[in-house]
Amino acid sequence: MIFNSFDFLFFFASFFILYWFVFVNNLKLQNLLILAGSYFFYAWWDWRFLSLLIASSALNYFLGIYIGKTQNEKHQRYLVLIGIVAGVGTLLFFKYFNFFIDTTTSIFSIFGVQLKLATLQLILPLGISFYTFRSISYLLDVESEKIEPTKDWIVFFSYISFFPSLLSGPIDRAEMLVPQLQKNRTFNYNLASEGMAQILWGLFKKLVIADNCAFVTQAIFENYTQFSASTLLLGSFFYIIQVYADFSGYSDMAIGFAKLLGFRITQNFNYPFFAQNIAEHWQRWHISLTSWMTEYVYTPLSFNFRSLRNKGIIISIIINFILVGLWHGANWTFVVFGLLNGCYFIPLILSGALNKKRTIAKDKLLPSIREIMNMGFTFSIVMLTAIIFGSKNMVEAFGYYSQMCSLSLFTIPPELKSQIILLMLIMLMFSFEWMSRDEQFGLIYFRKKLGRVGRWCLYVGLIFTIGMYMQTNETAFLYFKF
């Protein structure tokens, strides 16, 4: 049941009616409906893993209560550790077990020892990376007394399994979502209509931009040896756009559906391609993950390495980014992807520009030449690094890069002509996002500027564009596999 399906439309419409018309005056029942709806939504994918979600929620619920009860810091730390070991252990088992076995076997084979370790046919439970991180942040926040542990199990279980963000995030913190679950919700017209617009924008990004890009990139990545260097460059361009439009489109829809239910959840993307350096890019990309990693990995690490000064920051950032890479999956491509991204920070750290805040084209319609160059440079390194992210293994990634290093890089790719419409649609997406760059999503600027007729014309235009240009070969959301 993906967001852009009729199944979900019927599910959400029924849920919405029950939520706002039947259970509106009873907070407990409304939360219970969220919980039941979330479990139904999850079970639709694979009911077998529902027990894992429930077990994880139950464990963390009780751990949270005990952490709150005990005054002994050592005990608190042990309880947090139990939660982390259980969560990360499950994650490691389902996501990284085979990777670990393969890597161990390869390492031993280098020394001439042939290990015969069996790998398992494991299915990755959907959303496990997202709800595990949610649980861990909850325990850590309770331990650091940032939040009070919730005693209402319905609220806690609903927080962990909140269906709009269950499968692909954003990874909401308890301090953001739990208080909203605890208080009565009244229907807010402006929030709901903004949610509808955000869902529409997400649909446009997913169905028109991401899926059409996927159609091109799949062919190029799978047969990269048969294409010219310039086509491969074009393929890497479409790939990074696909990843962005797919994931940010999903996030927009998730946030939009949450708004329809009266919730404000974490913004996950803040126009990362308008970033002027790699640090800013990562502050704008998958914000809920990067801020999680910054708070719970980078900050403690850099604190521990503070005596090493810049070296300490570099080590912390590189470890942090390797973990960010590994979070995406068990493959050396993700490790290298993380490592490279960490390395890109080194010049910024050494020049002292790491924490410099810059607002792009402030009070201006267009960016300056310098800003354009900065954006172009940042986009280029992100795009070229994404080739590793999109390759099946490092051999293919190297193959792709070496195929790109030829004189045909300076020719016009023959595939360009057939992709003119797609390029125009990508331009359209970025134009909207540029105008709304100070707001939460790409339609907000026009929503504010236009009157009702203008807004409706805009929505009709977008719906028509989706109908006319959506890719008809349905593709699953990229981040479901993470």
Binding site: S193, V460, F464, Y469
Partner: protein, 309 residues
């Protein structure tokens, strides 16, 4: 909430109306490159369907009606059957799946009133999504309630868009006076529905081992077709037309398909009946060239006479 529901109830019809209007304007004025999900192709496309559907309206009481995919309109030559004394009409269309066959039968069966129906069955047509064939019929035939039913069953944006545009074209008679050339590239439309390809040859290719998927969604429509034909008391012959022997033998469950077909009535698999060569009798992996058509049709006529006597 009241305001939200009110806005939504007002917005939905506005969107529907505007969408329909935009589809018509887009279809009418925009060049093809901008019409990704609006596939309204008439003259010169999809194997002479425009001429076929124009002609079918003038034909009555035939001896044999041919139904099926491109194997049909490229495989059953009306002229050969005429020489043998059969009045025939070929209602095959590109990638026709049983869903579209049923639609065409509902539209034309009573008028054509055939004594015998020869229905070409190709394993892939039972797993086909039928999109191509639906678009073909929407663009080249007058649309009716059956078209809407078909679109709803297929639930595909290309079909919805093309159907909206098709209704607009029908309503304003925008297709009036359009004619399809008899000769289109290498194809020549022959009266009666056959499409003759200029003689060309294929080559011998080895195919990896393969298996037909026999669990397609289209079987229920196929059974409805058989029911309809039985109800009208029309003789039915199921025929698998020849494909290149190399391709045919690369599939390991041909017998399973044959058994399944035999359970439905008279069935001939011409891959086993005629001996053809990949290169000499085909122009691509699964379409006969004119040399192959002649051999195949003559053998079929022999079978028809055997049945008759």
């Amino acid at each position: 909430m009241k305001r939200f529901i009110k806005s939504l109830l007002f917005f939905i019809p506005v969107v529907c109306f505007a969408y329909i209007l935009l589809i018509c304007v887009w279809g009418e004025f925009m060049p093809g490159i901008f019409k990704k999900n609006l596939n309204y192709f008439r003259a010169g496309s999809y194997g002479g369907m425009m001429s076929r559907l124009e002609e079918v309206k003038t034909v009555k009481n035939v001896d044999i009606l041919f139904l099926g995919s491109s194997h049909t309109y490229r495989g059953f030559d009306n002229r050969i059957f005429k020489k043998a004394g059969f009045q025939t009409f070929n209602l095959g269309s590109s990638a026709q799946s049983p869903m579209q066959t049923l639609l065409l039968l509902n539209r034309y069966l009573d008028q054509l009133n055939p004594k015998t129906i020869i229905y070409e069955v190709y394993p892939n047509s039972f797993t086909s999504d039928g999109i191509e064939s639906s678009l073909d019929i929407i663009a080249n035939d007058k649309n009716d309630f059956g078209s809407i039913q078909m679109a709803l069953k297929q639930n595909h944006i290309k079909i919805y868009n093309s159907l909206i545009y098709g209704f607009y074209r029908d309503f304003f008679n925008r297709n009036k006076g359009e004619k399809e050339k008899k000769k289109n590239g290498n194809d020549t439309y022959i009266n009666g529905g056959f499409l003759q390809k200029d003689l060309s040859y294929f080559k011998h290719i080895k195919y990896p081992n393969n298996t037909w998927n026999l669990n397609g969604k289209q079987w229920s429509y196929f059974e409805k077709i058989l029911e309809l034909i039985k109800k009208k008391n029309i003789n039915l012959i199921l025929v698998q037309t020849p494909i290149t022997p190399n391709l045919y033998h690369s599939f390991n469950n041909n017998q399973a398909f044959d058994l399944k077909m035999k359970s439905y009535g008279t069935y001939y698999n011409f891959n086993d009946i005629v001996s053809l060569d990949d290169s000499l009798h085909f122009y691509d992996p699964h379409h006969l060239n004119q040399n192959g058509v002649i051999i195949f049709n003559e053998k079929l006529i022999e079978k028809l006479f055997t049945i008759k006597h």
